[in-house]
């Protein structure tokens, strides 16, 4: 589903990704873990070209792009983004639209389906994430957990092959984390391919097939999630996990 080869990215002169190779199969649930500043969010944002890598290549679905030789075209960007949906740490719902408008805006402008189909699907999705009764409310009137669930529904409306989650629960009050994780977990059970940047280690261990531990712009360790996150081979992974235990 996703193949990343030799990916490099610097901000100004600071290298953030130093040669990343990564493979995600269809149906995989993959967690990216690591300290802040290790490059995991940047890597995730490269997968949908919110950041443009300097070098290397990304293949996602049937689309492959090489970086560094010639500038990205709008067509490349569009095609790459077609395969993924993104859930942000800060939700980024459209504040001036009600929930139902938030999640139907993009599919209605894309016009790939007729309106009735889109509306039916939207109602079904809101039901699924437990927000039916709030469909006519504005985001500002909802809790963070509700907003994040709506943001997940919004991304799903575009039928992405891969869902990208960028620390989806880091901005939430502790008591709201669980309701969001439950939605993500239910997607995992349905076989949705997902790449999740997270600090929720128990959650990652429970739902992820694979885990990548990142440090300093490299992938330090990769493997089955329960191995990497419970019994890591690398010292750096162990140190990081021990730090989290202390908290």
């Amino acid at each position: 589903m996703i193949t990343v080869k030799n990916l490099k990215k610097s901000f100004d002169d600071t290298p953030v990704l130093k040669s990343i190779d990564l493979q995600v199969e269809k149906g995989d649930v993959v967690c990216l873990v690591g300290a802040s500043g290790s490059g995991k969010t940047t890597l995730l944002r490269c997968l949908n070209l919110l950041e443009t890598p300097d070098e290397g290549s990304i293949r996602i679905g049937d689309k492959e792009v090489q970086f560094g030789e010639k500038p990205l075209t709008k067509k490349d960007t569009k095609e790459i983004r077609h395969y993924s949906g993104m859930v942000f740490q800060g939700f980024h719902l459209f504040p001036h639209m009600t929930l139902i408008d938030n999640i139907t805006e993009a599919p209605l402008t894309a016009k790939e389906q007729d309106k009735d189909t889109i509306m039916q699907e939207a109602h079904a999705l809101l039901e699924k994430v437990g927000l039916s009764e709030h469909k006519d409310k504005y985001p500002d009137a909802l809790s963070g957990g509700q907003q994040q669930r709506a943001a997940i529904a919004r991304a799903l409306m575009m039928h992405p092959d891969v869902m990208l989650f960028d620390e989806p629960t880091s901005a939430l009050d502790p008591q709201l984390v669980r309701e969001v994780l439950k939605v993500i977990e239910s997607l995992a059970k349905e076989g949705q391919t997902m790449v999740i940047v997270t600090h929720e280690m128990n959650f990652a261990r429970r739902i992820a097939d694979k885990a990548f531990f990142m440090g300093d712009g490299y992938i330090v360790e990769e493997g089955p999630a329960d191995q990497v996150l419970a019994d890591p081979k690398e010292d750096r992974t162990r140190e990081f996990l021990a730090l989290l235990e202390d908290e």
Partner: protein, 232 residues
């Protein structure tokens, strides 16, 4: 000092009868004022939007002319600009059909620059995450601008835009110097005939003020509407 104060002729301060008698005549002038103001604001908004967006472009062919335009218009007095249009252009063979048209062109072009800066700052104040969310939902630049960014930027732009609108209304008084018979010009005519400048200019001032109060009322209404999605 006290002596001078005692010499003030308070009975000449305001002649209600004259004000009332000349009101219909002044209101005719006000019509011209409002025609110039409304047309000018309309064109200044559209032009300001285009220039403001061009100013933010990453392409030099768009943002450099926009910057130059804004710099010139903000850096020159409206009155001088109106003189150039009305007295200057005929020298090189360009003449406006009427002074009113020249005034509308002058006020529009001048205030478009201020609107452009409001548009730019309002669009920049919409969080970057909104662009990113729209991008990941595969919306293109103009869809994002039209459906996501501009509705949010409008809320932020309302107060400064209404400031500009009031400035436009008041700025139309400069048209009186190129013989446009708007509110100030009419007041001056009556003042000249009756030798009662005080009454006539106070009346004119009060009429401008009243117009701005009405505009302020619409501003409040619009702000309430555009803030409805916020809980506090």
């Amino acid at each position: 000092m006290f002596e001078t104060f005692r010499e003030i002729r308070w009975d000449y301060l305001f002649d209600f009868e004259l004000a009332a008698d000349s009101l219909p005549f002044l209101l005719e002038g006000l019509q011209v004022t409002m025609i110039i103001a409304l047309f000018s604001m309309f064109f200044a908004l559209i032009l300001g939007m285009v220039i403001g967006i061009a100013r933010m472009s990453k392409y030099a062919v768009l943002h450099l002319p926009a910057r130059l335009y804004i710099s010139f218009m903000r850096g020159t007095p409206l009155l001088v600009f109106i003189f150039i249009l009305y007295y200057g252009l005929p020298v090189i063979g360009i003449e406006f059909d009427s002074a009113v048209v020249a005034a509308i062109v002058g006020v529009s072009l001048n205030f478009a620059a201020y609107n452009a800066e409001v548009v730019r700052s309002a669009i920049l104040s919409v969080p970057k995450g909104q662009w990113e969310a729209a991008a990941t939902l595969q919306m293109d630049y103009f869809q994002t601008l039209r459906r996501i960014i501009i509705p949010q930027a409008t809320r932020i732009a309302l107060p400064p835009t209404f400031n500009i609108f009031m400035d436009v209304v008041k700025g139309t008084s400069l048209a009186s110097v190129i013989t446009v018979q708007e509110l100030l010009y009419s007041s001056r005519l009556v003042a000249g005939r009756t030798f009662d400048s005080m009454t006539m200019y106070i009346t004119a001032a009060l009429i401008y003020w009243l117009v701005c109060i009405v505009i302020g009322y619409f501003q409040d209404r619009l702000e309430i509407r555009y803030n409805r999605y916020l809980t506090n």
